[in-house]
């Protein structure tokens, strides 16, 4: 009886799918899957949620591969899968596991806490350290096995960048090439090279012993996929494609974001390596302004300066609003977008057919967000100002590649930002999420630092359980501080607090009545669906 009711609404949904043709809307899967395949205790809940969703009738483009759906008003840990990042240096340069005992204890603790899984950074500089195509997966395989043994899931982050602070380098052979040809790295106005990742300008240039970086990344992904085939889809359920500095989709406009606790300056445009300059020149000539192709804006401030210290970013009358400004910023941001598109389409080619979800990370560059020009975002490659939404194009690009978007900084709140930073993590996050919603990109949350401060957890809780859709949340990152007695209890509390709504629902005493009620409601909802 009840199945047929839901079945009919499901049919309606399918119809709407057909109607919408190309733009394939579909209902969050949880609705159907729960109703059909788990007719047990959760039934009543799902019936209830079904109603809400149906009335809301807000279509989501949900990923085929996702096991759970995305849209649901009353969320709980059950909906939001919580992950915790493994230490950056979990696998050492010589492919052994650092502090394996601690990790194994940590994994057990997380499992007991009810955490879904962990995130494992896989470093290019470690797995393909010695020579191109010579992959060493042993360390990561061991780690993956530990995770599997602990009964946890795994999100893998493919890190094609280095991290000097963590002393994790690029592959030795890449560094060697870089020494003779620093043009493969980003450069700033003063010619300083950023050596933590390759410039996006070389993506399709055969700079690596005759191969292009994209080809090398692709081989890396292929090898990873075959080496970890036993884990794919079972333990490994998500793969994050490294997109740039720190794995994020951006230019290294701040040599290290968040390094100092001082107020961030505007950063610098990173368009001065020879290949970038080359592209800029071509682009300028093609658009009929050859004089604009010699370099970046001459009147941009330098890294740590504030927007008003030069004329480019000035709130009023800044050259960012001039035709030149628009020319440059459009080109600069499109470079980042097409780079992102290259790598994400590579990722969805490699992993899309399997049972894992692909992710890319977009940074939350919230400094100076309250100025009109958003200088920090501009230098990082997001053409997002008071006049222009720079994130829609990003979201569209993610949607095009069926990629989920990782958004960090879910723990940040405006009130705890220094006044002078003119920053607004909350507004920026809301903006990006709006763009994602528009294009049906599923968002996965992340925090930006380990902190015991309760407002961080409160913010995360709100972001995770709030109205907005988050399919998973990755808490960064395991380590001494994470397990320290001043932090871990707060984290435990956070995890358990995510669970409360669920508890509440299960505690409803009269199950049978509830079923009857939801039956009634779901038939109502089916009527509404048909009417709509």
């Amino acid at each position: 009886m009840e199945v047929s009711v839901i079945g009919s609404s499901q049919a309606t949904v399918c119809t709407s799918e057909l109607v919408h043709g190309e733009q394939r809307f579909c209902v969050p899967r949880r609705r159907s899957s729960v109703s059909f395949f788990h007719p047990g205790t959760r039934w009543s809940n799902s019936g209830l949620r079904f109603t809400l969703n149906a009335i809301q009738a807000e279509p989501f483009r949900s990923d085929n591969l996702s096991i759970r759906g995305c849209a649901s008003r009353s969320k709980s840990l059950d909906d939001v899968r919580l992950f915790v990042g493994l230490p950056f240096d979990a696998v050492s340069e010589c492919n052994t596991i650092n502090h394996a005992k601690a990790i194994s204890a940590g994994l057990k603790a997380l499992k007991l806490l009810g955490v879904e899984g962990v995130e494992m950074p896989v470093w290019w500089g470690i797995a393909e350290k010695e020579a191109m195509g010579k992959y060493k997966w042993e360390g990561y395989l061991t780690l993956a096995e530990m995770v599997q043994d602990a009964g946890l899931k795994l999100h893998v982050s493919l890190c094609f960048h280095a991290n000097e602070e963590l002393k994790i380098p690029l592959p030795e052979w890449v560094s060697r090439i870089g020494e003779s040809d620093p043009g493969i790295f980003f450069a700033d106005r003063s010619g300083h090279h950023f050596r933590e990742c390759l410039s996006l300008a070389v993506d399709d240039l055969p700079v690596l012993d005759g191969k292009t970086p994209v080809q090398v990344y692709q081989q890396f992904c292929k090898s990873f996929k075959s080496s970890f085939s036993g884990f794919m889809g079972s333990t490994i359920i998500g793969i994050k494609m490294g997109l740039g500095p720190n794995g994020e989709l951006r230019f290294p406009s701040h040599s290290r974001v968040g390094k100092s606790c001082k107020i961030l300056g505007v950063g610098e445009f990173q368009c001065y390596d020879k290949n970038m300059l080359n592209f800029l020149k071509q682009h300028a000539e093609a658009t009929g302004n050859p004089l604009w192709g010699f370099g970046g804006p001459h009147d941009a401030p330098s890294y740590d300066q504030m927007p008003n210290s030069n004329s480019f970013f000035k709130d009023h009358g800044g050259s960012w609003e001039s035709p030149y400004g628009n020319f440059f910023l459009s080109w600069y941001s499109s470079q980042l977008l097409s780079h992102g598109n290259r790598l994400l389409s590579l990722a969805s080619d490699e992993f899309g057919g399997s049972t894992v979800t692909t992710y890319g990370e977009v940074p939350l560059i919230h400094s100076l967000f309250k100025t009109r020009s958003h200088p920090c975002e501009l230098t990082a490659g997001f053409y997002n100002t008071d006049n222009r939404d720079g994130y829609e194009a990003v979201a569209e690009m993610f949607a095009r590649n069926s990629c989920k978007m990782i958004l960090p900084g879910m723990n940040l709140s405006d009130e705890h930002q220094p006044q002078e930073s003119l920053s607004s993590p909350e507004l920026l996050l809301a903006q990006i999420r709006t763009a994602c919603r528009k294009y049906g990109v599923v968002v996965s949350g992340q925090n930006s630092l380990v902190s015991k401060a309760s407002h961080h957890f409160e913010k995360m809780r709100k972001n995770v359980l709030g109205e907005n859709v988050v399919d998973s949340f990755t808490y960064q990152r395991m380590g001494a501080e994470f397990f320290s007695p001043e932090h871990f209890p707060a984290f435990t509390e956070f995890v358990r607090s995510l669970n409360l709504p669920e508890k509440h629902a299960d505690d409803l005493p009269e199950e049978e009545e509830e079923v009857a009620e939801s039956l009634q409601r779901s038939s109502e909802s089916s009527i509404q669906m048909q009417a709509a």
């Binding site: 601690a102 940590g106 007991l112 963590l166 002393k167 001494a480 397990f483 435990t492 669970n499």
Partner: protein, 890 residues
């Protein structure tokens, strides 16, 4: 077939502990604190000591069905009966009734109990003129036949089995209206188990005074009363919030009220109780071979009541890896996570038990199963799966497919999706089990089980601490951005986890008048011995020279020295790296002045409180505050912490001590005296580095012999720590008590509880347990409960190698034991044993106890022989002395 002893364990018993474990905030004037005779008798101890000597056996009589007969006759090649022991919580009621006897002449008090057992009423009376809370013996006329005198203050009267047919026990006491008895106090004791059943951790008390005429006030002895014209059972008796079957407070009260308005007819009250009983069942498995199909037929039957699900699989070799055979399966079989099958057994015709028949291909050599009674109860075979070999010798026919009826589908809870983890088949069992429990915590509040929850949280805490210690100690390959490697973290309940505490005084320390100066000279020595926390004596002006009868809290000139000397001492202690704990006596305070009645209850000094700051339920001091939230200390006015102004003043005082003197934390005197929640308040306000409370009450004894199981005792301490929200640790009195018995009587088996963990608080919540063997009260020149003489070093070998935060007594460190204690401390520090270290008890026998801590330190004590296992690690002797020995992994 080899027969193994079967000991299926009941995994997770999900039932709240019975009522008397509930911490109550409500107080009544019948506390038993600090009365030595009571302590020794254990009248205040609780039950929960389940050591059934004569287990209650409910065994289904063997009514074999015809089918079974068939099997018997077919001469299967395997048949075995496994006994199944199931410990179960049985609920029942205690009945208390007051009514007139048949002649309507005499009042009679009946106490009954509906549970099986050998019940004893342990009781005494209070007379009208009594001021204290102690019991007296009832007059001879009141004593029912069979009563036995217990010392000079109590009676023990067995409950008789009434003829009602049910398992109902009852005792009747005739009340003599002419006597001046104010109240009858009792607890119920189960001789079988040695368990005591109290009312929410306290005695049942039945005042026999006129309730109506006094307008509800129970103001103690001065009041006139009129026997038998009314009765009053204190409100608290009705307030059994957590207890389901009791009428709730309000209704009971109103019921009581209406009765009182009329002619008193009687009084009747029920209290739910629960008791663990051991139930013996069995499961019989027989295997035969079907000649036609060459398949094995396995018949499983059991007399377990209720629904039984067989969770089963097969294996191909001795490795016993679970595998799912090809179908067909018995009806209603479901596949569980692709790893096992679940088949509900079908009830047998006679109604006793159930059975199932399984057809198995001959390629399999074994049938593996466990029995699942409900979500949380699994029966296993000695912690392992049952394994039935399927050899292929027999060849007699049997009828397949019988014995099943079309029962209702056993509704199996859908496994939560996030639980569906693909795991390699081996060794994940434990994690899964615990995981189930975690799910239980998160999603089944109604049925959550405190102990399970605690054990998981503790497990998580332990794992996190382990991870922390390794991460922290490994050379950091990077410094995380926001973390400028600061001082190790601290929380008041545990400090850093690496504390070793010295009690920096004894009962005589005040005598010289310059203790602070003397101690200051020893500061460097104390620090070099390896201590990092020192507990100083109470600093305030005090009526008694030792400082425990404080008067003016802001006057810190005491018999130990002046306030300036104290500051200097604290400063020098800080200089040598010692944290300093102040001894905060918060429970009571001596008054400066008498009130108009001549009662000492007016305070002076900066905190010039009056009788409103004193608890109302101690008639000595005529307090006008609320009733005490804990036990009363009768020698001085007990402060009423429930009032905001009192707490505000005390917080101010504690903060002042922190700032002015430089104390880093607190040792809280007589923490039984007030609710732990107030302690949390004080701790939160003062943010100490470390805090430990003295929650000292008696262990449970049966016939003068200490019970092996002291769970009730340690639970009371845990409850207190819980009430403080874990912001304070507590002295592990349980461990001390158990060490007494173990060492004194050479009963080292006592040092492991039934789960193989340390039997004290340290076994349950190590990070909050401050282990000690002696203090100024138990030892020194008072000697209220002295550690077995000559065994002190064994005690220290235990606490200094084990988790928990060890505390060393002044008299011991400055004695001939110094070098030995110092060696043990350095072993502890060297191996970074901390309050959350793991302890694996490797031996707990009559004459030897041995344990391995963190896989780094091994220790044994007792005359028996022990050597740590050398397979995986090599050990070198770190210290060897009389009756104990400590090794370090090398």
């Amino acid at each position: 077939m080899s027969t193994v002893t079967i000991e299926p364990l009941l995994r997770y018993l999900r039932r709240e502990r019975p009522l008397c474990r509930c911490r109550t905030k409500i107080l009544k004037p019948s506390s038993l604190n600090f009365s030595p005779k009571l302590l020794s008798n254990g009248a205040n101890t609780s039950f929960c000591n389940f050591k059934p000597r004569r287990p209650h056996i409910i065994r289904a009589s063997s009514t074999d069905t015809a089918l079974l007969e068939t099997f018997k006759s077919t001469d299967g090649f395997f048949k075995e009966t496994f006994p199944l022991t199931l410990t179960q919580m049985v609920e029942g009621k205690i009945f208390i009734r007051l009514d007139k006897d048949q002649n309507q002449q005499c009042w009679q008090l009946s106490v009954g109990c509906s549970l099986p057992g050998k019940w004893i009423l342990h009781w005494g009376v209070s007379y009208v003129d009594d001021v204290g809370s102690e019991w007296d013996q009832p007059p001879k006329s009141m004593r029912p036949p069979g009563s036995v005198c217990i010392k000079d203050y109590a009676m023990e009267t067995p409950l008789k089995k009434s003829s009602d047919g049910e398992i109902f026990h009852e005792v009747k006491i005739n009340l003599d209206p002419k006597s001046s008895i104010a109240a009858i106090n009792f607890v119920l004791k189960d001789e079988e188990t040695g368990a005591w059943y109290q009312h929410r951790g306290r005695d049942f008390k039945m005042p026999l005074v006129d309730y109506l005429r006094n307008d509800g006030k129970v103001a103690g002895a001065k009041r006139g009363f009129n026997l038998w014209s009314g009765f009053f059972l204190p409100k608290m008796l009705f307030k059994a919030k957590e207890l389901p079957s009791n009428d709730q407070g309000s209704s009971s009260e109103s019921k009581g009220a209406t009765q009182e308005n009329r002619q008193v007819e009687g009084f009747y009250e029920e209290h739910p109780i629960a008791k663990q009983v051991v139930i013996q069942n069995s499961a019989t498995v027989s295997v035969t071979k079907c000649p036609k199909t060459a398949k094995n037929l396995l018949y499983l039957e059991t007399d377990l009541p209720g629904k039984v699900v067989v969770h089963w699989g097969v294996c191909r070799d001795d490795a016993k890896n679970w595998e799912i055979p090809a179908g067909p399966y018995p009806p209603e079989t479901t596949v569980f996570k692709n790893k096992a099958l679940r088949t509900p057994l079908q009830p047998k015709d006679g109604g006793n038990g159930c059975s199932g028949l399984f057809t198995l291909d001959q390629e399999f050599v074994g049938f593996l199963f466990v029995l699942k009674l409900n979500e949380d109860t699994w029966l296993k075979c000695k912690k392992n799966d049952f394994h039935i070999p399927l050899s292929s010798s027999g060849s007699l026919p049997a009828q397949p497919g019988q014995g099943q009826s079309e029962g209702a589908l056993v509704s199996e809870k859908t496994v939560e999706a996030n639980q569906e983890v693909s795991q390699t088949a081996s060794s994940k069992g434990i994690i899964n089990d615990i995981r189930n429990l975690v799910n239980g915590i998160s999603s089944r509040r109604r049925t959550k089980k405190k102990e399970a929850q605690e054990s998981i949280l503790h497990e998580i805490e332990k794992l996190a601490a382990e991870a922390y210690s390794i991460f922290r100690n490994s050379i950091p390959t990077f410094v995380s951005e926001s973390e400028p490697q600061e001082t190790p973290k601290i929380c008041s309940g545990t400090g850093t986890g690496f504390e070793i505490l010295l009690q920096g005084f004894n009962w005589e320390s005040h005598k010289s008048g310059r203790w602070y100066m003397e101690l200051k000279e020893k500061a460097v020595e104390i620090s070099s011995l390896g201590f990092n926390v020192i507990w100083l004596p109470p600093p305030t002006e005090s009526v008694s020279p030792e400082g425990y009868m404080p008067k003016d809290l802001y006057n810190l000139n005491s018999r130990y020295g002046s306030i300036d000397e104290l500051k200097h001492l604290v400063k020098s202690l800080h200089e040598v790296g010692l944290k300093v704990l102040g001894d905060a006596v918060l429970n009571h305070r001596c008054a400066h002045f008498q009130n108009q009645n001549g009662v000492w209850n007016i305070f002076g000094g900066r905190l010039n409180w009056d009788e409103r700051a004193i608890v109302a339920d101690d008639p000595h001091f005529q307090g006008r505050g609320n009733k005490s939230s804990g036990d009363n200390f009768h020698a001085a006015p007990n402060i009423d912490h429930s009032q905001d102004f009192v707490r505000k003043d005390l917080k101010e005082w504690l903060c002042w001590l922190r700032d002015e003197i430089g104390y880093d934390g607190w040792r809280l005197d007589f923490a039984r005296g007030f609710w732990g929640g107030y302690v949390k308040d004080y701790i939160d306000a003062t943010e100490p580095y470390f805090a430990v409370g003295e929650y000292w009450d008696s262990l449970s004894y049966t016939c003068g012999e200490m019970d092996h199981n002291q769970d009730a005792h340690r639970q009371r301490i845990i409850d207190w720590i819980n009430a403080t929200n874990g912001t304070a640790g507590a002295f592990d009195v349980t461990t001390k008590g158990i060490l007494h018995s173990a060492l004194e009587r050479c009963e080292y088996w006592r040092l492991s509880d039934k789960k193989g963990k340390p039997p004290g608080v340290v076994g349950w919540w190590p990070s909050r347990a401050v282990t000690f063997i002696e203090n100024h009260d138990t030892g020194s020149t008072q000697g209220h409960w002295r550690f077995p003489s000559g065994k002190e070093m064994q005690g220290y070998a235990y606490i200094l190698t084990h988790p928990g935060t060890p505390a060393v007594f002044y008299d011991h460190i400055f004695s001939h034991y110094q070098s030995e204690i110092a060696s043990l401390i350095s072993i502890r520090n060297r191996n970074k044993v901390h309050c959350r270290s793991t302890v694996k008890i490797t031996k707990a026998e009559r004459d030897v106890y041995a344990a391995i801590i963190d896989e780094k330190v091994a220790m044994k004590m007792g005359p028996g022989h022990y050597e740590p296992p050398r397979e995986s690690q090599s050990w070198s002797v770190a210290i060897e002395a009389k009756d104990y020995k400590v090794w370090e992994a090398s």
